[in-house]
Structures are given as C-alpha cells and as structure tokens.
Symmetry: C2
Subunit: 225 residues, 2 copies
C-alpha cells in the first residue's frame, strides 16, 4: 500500500516519510511527518478544524522557505482537517504525537472555529504552558490570541489580534490597535489574513535572522524591513 | 463509512456532500465536492502537484469569501495533492470530473512543478481552449502563465508573471513588468505569492463587483481600490 500512496502523493524521496496512523476512523488516512534532519530551527503549527487556511498556509510555507523545519500537527489527530473556507488539509501528524518533542516556536493560526477549538483543548494548554515556561516563542494571529487568553498564557504582555477580538483580550493584555505584528519578548501576535505575510516573516526573522528573511521576502515579491 | 468520515472531517450539513471516488488507489480518499446551489458565479481552480500553496489557498479562500462557488479540481484525480512546500491538500473532485460543467473563471495557481504539470496536460489545454472560445475568464499567477503559452492561449495579449518566467513569455505576449495584476479582456494574470491577494480580489471584482470585493478585503484587513 505504501508504494501506491507514494505514487499518489508525488512524494519526494528524502523530505518526508509515511507513518501509518492509529487504528480507527483515521487509519484510512495515512499522515505525513516532516523530517527535521539537518535543519536547526523547528516550528509546530497547530491545524484545528475551522482554522483560517490562508493564515495557516502562509505561516507553514514562509517558514519552510526560510529553512525552518515545520511540523503541521492536527489538533484532533492525523486526519484531514476542514478549514474555515472548506479547504481540506492533511496534517503531517497529530498534535498528540507532535508534542513529544520541543519546538523553537509554536504557531496558532486564526479562524474562529480553529481558535475556539484550541482554546478548549487541554493538550494545547499544556503545550503552551510548557513553551512559555521554557522561554520559547509562541505566535498567534487573528482570533488565535483568544486561545492564549483561555489558557492563561502571556498575561500582562503586549499583543494584537483580529480587531473583533479586542474586547476578549484588553483586560488581560496591553492591547495594540495600530500595528500589523506585535512582538513582546517571546510572544508574536498579528491581526488577520492581510497581515499574515508580515506575521510569518517576523517569526522567521526571530529564528533565522533578517538577512535570510529578506531573501525569502524577495523571492515572494515582497519587501521586509 | 460515510458517517464516520463526516465526523472525522467536521463537515457542515449543507455546504458539501461526499462523493465516493473511483476504484483504485484514490478509492480510500473520498473527495469533497462543493455544492454550487444558490450561488450564481462559479470558479474552477486547478490543483496540480507542486502548486504554490499560498497562491492556491488565497485564490480559493478569497473567491469563497466573495460568494463565488469554487471547485478545487485535482489535476491528476481526486487524491490529495502535495504542493510546492509540502502542504498536502484534498481537492473537491478530479479535473476530469470537474470539466463536465462550465465555469465563469478557470484559475491556474503558480508553482514551478504545478505549472509544468498544467503545461503538459492535454485536459488543461482542452479546458483552456474551450474557456477562451466561450469568452469566459482565465486567470493565472506566478509561473502559471507559462501553461497558457504551452497551450497557445491568449497569444498576443498583455500579461505578467513571476519575473523569472518573462523570457518564456515575451515572444508570445505583450509583457508587463511593473504591475501586480494585469487584465486584458478575459485574461487576468499576476506575479507571485506577494501579489496573490490582489490577484484573487481582481478575479472576484470581475465576477461579483467592486462593492462586494471591498467588503471582502476589509474583512481580511486589506484595502482594495
């Protein structure tokens, strides 16, 4: 079966390997797990049902362009995830599996449904508290900062979000209205689809430096300063 | 099995319906097909292996935000498609199935691998020639205008592309270097990931009008004029 699947997915020889998922409904959807070999910086992006697919895709794509080893972890397992505008994406692995290792950054894409699912998730809370405790980066965009608030992460810090989320955040945080991306120490936040490139480039800059990020931006026909 | 899959994908009741794919390797990946009911404008987006996933996702998401009924058609069938930065996306259906109906616009995302696959595809050539013959919209971004050239589409018209593709296009077309999006009649072209929002908004404007597009842009924290 594996050889059939490899053909079907046009899989590169070295970049990924197949992992058969656990028994149950998910067993018929083998998931991908990204190989982190020879890459120094790592990112975990949580993919929850109802995630904003542009914010998710821009984060994963831009970080990979920057040479960061990105693991896309399905919140509810390794099965395909239906995003906010009905694009269906296969995670590399389940969040449950992914949290066995540490990452330089944990990224939370927005989308109302995805953010609520992350806010309600015990495993996300545990992951974020460990990430914060280690002094590693946490990044959230659009509605996703509400998941930080739900888990009591980074309270008192300066952040931004999708404008409609402001009321849910301004009591716990120092809220910024007028910047596309806000960084306060190891917390990086941003506002919505229209700021997603800036968000992904800022995360990348913190992990691989400005020179590499400017090269990545130029390749996408963007500027980053 | 369907009820299990419906749970697994968190599927909305009315927005989509399941279609069991043909026998063979793809049979274990049931695909989604978007319901076009009550939507007047339609778009077909071709998803080929190696497609640039940001350009694909932004086009599909923005057009759906604009109320356009988008069908995501897998070039090689309904199976999951591995994009240029290893994000794996499930099409709604196969291109072979999708071409049974007409669309107001056919959209070709970029990505070197995806564009070459579309350039080499007989069914894409037939689809584009029929679309051009009907006077309906064709839209291509980044490397994808090279697929238009390969199939002899829109020769002599004004267009743009990812800058590195210019040499492959300037003999057949009037090439524009200095605009993010170029429209010449029913042909809309654009340059790369950094211009993908402008590209998707321009397509949407042609189908649903400026007022709706400005509302969509505002919701994404962008401006469109």
């Amino acid at each position: 079966m594996f050889s059939t699947l490899r053909r079907s997915f046009n899989i590169g020889i070295n970049s990924i390997f197949w992992r058969k998922s656990k028994a149950g409904p998910s067993a018929q959807f083998p998931s991908l797990q990204y190989s982190n070999c020879n890459m120094s910086k790592t990112a975990l992006i949580i993919l929850a049902p109802g995630a904003e697919e542009m914010e998710f895709t821009i984060a994963a794509d831009v970080l990979r362009r920057a040479g960061i080893a990105v693991t896309v972890a399905g919140l509810n397992g390794p099965d395909p995830v239906k995003c906010s505008r009905d694009i269906v994406i296969l995670p590399d692995t389940s969040l449950e599996t992914a949290v066995a290792q540490k990452y330089d950054v944990v990224v939370l894409p927005g989308g109302l449904g995805g953010s609520k699912a992350m806010a309600d998730s015990q495993i996300v809370g545990e992951l974020l508290r460990a990430q914060e405790g280690d002094g590693r980066f946490i990044a959230a965009i659009c509605a996703a900062p509400t998941a930080l608030a739900a888990h009591g992460i980074a309270c008192g810090k300066t952040l931004t979000s999708y404008p409609a989320m402001k009321k849910q955040l301004e009591d716990k945080y120092s809220y910024v209205d007028d910047k596309n991306v806000v960084q306060d120490g190891n917390l990086i936040t941003s506002r919505g689809p229209g700021t997603a490139y800036d968000f992904a480039l800022k995360i990348s800059e913190q992990l691989v430096g400005a020179e590499k990020v400017q090269e990545v931006a130029k390749g996408m026909l963007l500027t980053y300063s």
